[in-house]
């Protein structure tokens, strides 16, 4: 009752009292009071269609059930779309049969080029210097006739730019057993590819965030000694990442999940995110990434395991690195919003958060018609500095996600918020 009566006042109060506390950091993340600047998408990597039936089943699942439950803005697939083995062990394709299967799965799910952004990996490039099979069979290759892709998502609160870059080599080298040959994986970005990347980055100077996806890590030996990386074009590419304030480089290739920050030759660094393989990994098959008030958050997830829980606000100040240079601090306010996305095909009966491992779990409320849940943390007595927020959800199973944030008593919201908190919660 109290909330309804004072609703217009509350809206004004929020904006007047909360906005001054916004803490802009790095590439523009800010602590937004509500959920109207939140979107999310799915990341699939290393689908390796053709390796075995599991790979096909996992992609089918991802673009049907997972897609329906998560309802992402779009799906990114950063390569090794096919395995190039046709069920064997030694990569020696391309095999049209693998591409036929890939197409069949996606077309069967009604996937199109406005929603699904697939780019080539080294397994799609062996023995194919001109990416003939990728161009003739992939979703984006067929739609655009190119190997690199640029797309924009426009919202009332701003424009977001995404780039898919073609990191496999352009020499059509076959797979090899020899480290001195980079196993035939002569990855890199050549002059033409870099010109495209630069042109697209320059097109959207007003983008709130720019996120880039590719198949390879920047450098070799990222996870294991056999992990290949870019062998040419890296320096020029990093210059562009730096110049255009790219917030994320997301890649696959290693079949392992790893969050990191890459700082070398960069002024601020870039969030350097490695996602495991949908086809070949035992866990962390895919990832959900969200943008909330320009703050990035992501969670790896396993095929068929629900719910998927992702805390989107406050932004995790340990995403990739502690402290993530793009993260913001939160005020010592009495009603700091906590937001989470909860995805589950079955009903989610309860979502709660707790602070610093406390036994006092506090309920969160679902925003009608969305997978977004919100709660408010009374941080007015929280000590300055680092705190852990955990959100747990009871759906198909009990699952949780946790993030770290930092309370900064110096943020001005401190004095403006107590009476607002009373209006909201003292009914």
């Amino acid at each position: 009752m109290m909330i309804r009566r004072f609703f217009p006042l509350l809206v004004i109060t929020f904006w007047v009292s909360f906005l001054p506390s916004l803490s802009f950091a790095g590439q523009g993340a800010y602590y937004h009071p509500n959920a109207d600047r939140l979107f999310w998408f799915m990341i699939l990597l290393d689908t390796h269609i053709g390796a075995d039936s599991t790979c096909s089943q996992n992609l089918t699942w991802a673009v049907t059930q997972a897609r329906q439950v998560i309802a992402p803005q779009f799906i990114v697939n950063t390569g090794d779309l096919t395995d190039s083995t046709n069920g064997g062990i030694i990569p020696n394709g391309p095999f049209q049969a693998e591409w036929d299967k890939y197409r069949q799965i996606l077309e069967g799910a009604g996937i199109n080029s406005s929603f699904y952004y697939d780019m080539p990996g080294n397994h799609d490039a062996y023995n194919d210097a001109h990416f003939a099979y990728y161009l003739a069979n992939s979703i984006q290759g067929r739609a655009t006739g190119t190997t690199q892709h640029s797309w924009v998502k426009q919202f009332p609160y701003g424009r977001y730019h995404f780039l898919g870059v073609c990191t496999p080599g352009n020499d059509g080298a076959p797979f090899s057993f020899w480290p001195w040959d980079n196993y035939g994986d002569h990855a890199g970005l050549d002059a033409n590819e870099l010109v495209f990347i630069q042109g697209e980055l320059a097109k959207y100077p007003d983008a709130q965030l720019t996120l880039i996806f590719g198949h390879h890590p920047f450098e070799a030996d990222y996870y294991s000694p056999t992990d290949t990386g870019l062998t040419y074009g890296l320096s020029a590419f990093l210059s562009l990442v730096d110049k255009y304030l790219v917030s994320l480089y997301g890649f696959g290739h290693t079949h392992n999940y790893r969050e990191n920050f890459y700082y070398k030759n960069l002024t601020k660094g870039v969030y350097y995110m490695n996602v495991a393989s949908l086809g070949k990994s035992d866990h962390d098959h895919y990832a959900v990434m969200a943008v909330d008030g320009n703050g990035l958050s992501m969670v790896p997830a396993q095929k068929g395991i629900w719910p998927v829980v992702l805390v989107t606000a406050p932004v995790d100040r340990c995403l990739g690195d502690c402290a993530n240079p793009f993260a913001y601090e939160v005020p010592q306010g009495p009603a700091n919003p906590i937001r989470a996305l909860i995805f589950d095909p079955n009903p989610v009966t309860q979502v709660q958060f707790c602070i610093d491992g406390s036994a006092a779990w506090q309920d969160m409320q679902r925003i009608n018609g969305t997978p977004i849940w919100e709660g408010h943390w009374n941080a007015s007595t929280a000590s300055p500095g680092s705190h852990v927020i955990e959100v747990r959800a009871q759906g198909s199973t009990l699952a949780s996600d946790q993030i770290q944030t930092s309370v900064n008593p110096g943020l001005p919201v401190k004095k403006a918020m107590p009476w607002l908190y009373l209006l909201l919660f003292a009914d």
Binding site: G88, I89, I90, Q96, F177
Partner: protein
């Protein structure tokens, strides 16, 4: 004596000339074969134009075979013919050609890989393991040996799985 020397020079010239002409012909035939292969594998096949692909593959095979006849000690047309067979799923033929290529150029390590790949796709896992073991015996680099061991192990596992499946299948009524 003078006549004899003249005769020797004429014969030598003829042999060298024929050899050079053979090499030129082989190169031209190989180049032509690659053109047909490219049209089949990179243009027709990915666009599901099976008729054109078959025709181009057939012309590629003929060109590479003629190149081999023209200059049997030149390894490149063998590799191209092997690849042409391989991409048409003619794995046994591909393996045969790669074996011949290995007798000509045993130092070319990539031929072992191609041969092992053809044998694997033909279902001859033991044969593929044997070829990779031959290659391993020549390797001195530890990292290469580890990679080869991994592939050998996985191929041997496939062989074992098939053996068990065959034995299991034999017990079925």
């Amino acid at each position: 004596m003078k006549r004899l020397l003249t005769l020797v020079f004429i014969i030598l010239g003829l042999v060298l000339g024929m050899s050079f002409a053979g090499a030129q012909t082989a190169k031209e035939l190989d180049r032509r074969g690659l053109g047909h292969f490219g049209k089949a594998y990179y243009e027709a096949a990915p666009r599901q134009d099976h008729g054109k692909a078959a025709s181009e593959y057939s012309q590629a095979e003929r060109a590479f075979q003629e190149a081999i006849r023209s200059q049997p000690d030149w390894v490149d047309p063998y590799l191209h013919l092997g690849r042409t067979y391989f991409v048409q799923n003619k794995y046994v033929l591909a393996a045969e050609v790669y074996r011949r290529a290995l007798t000509i150029a045993p130092q070319r390590k990539e031929i072992y890989l191609q041969l092992a790949s053809a044998l694997e796709m033909a279902g001859d896992y033991e044969g593929a393991v044997g070829v990779l073991k031959e290659l391993r015996a020549q390797e001195v680099d530890d990292r290469s040996i580890r990679i080869l061991d991994d592939f050998i192990q996985r191929l041997a596992q496939r062989a074992e799985e098939r053996l068990q499946k065959d034995q299991g299948g034999g017990k079925q009524p």
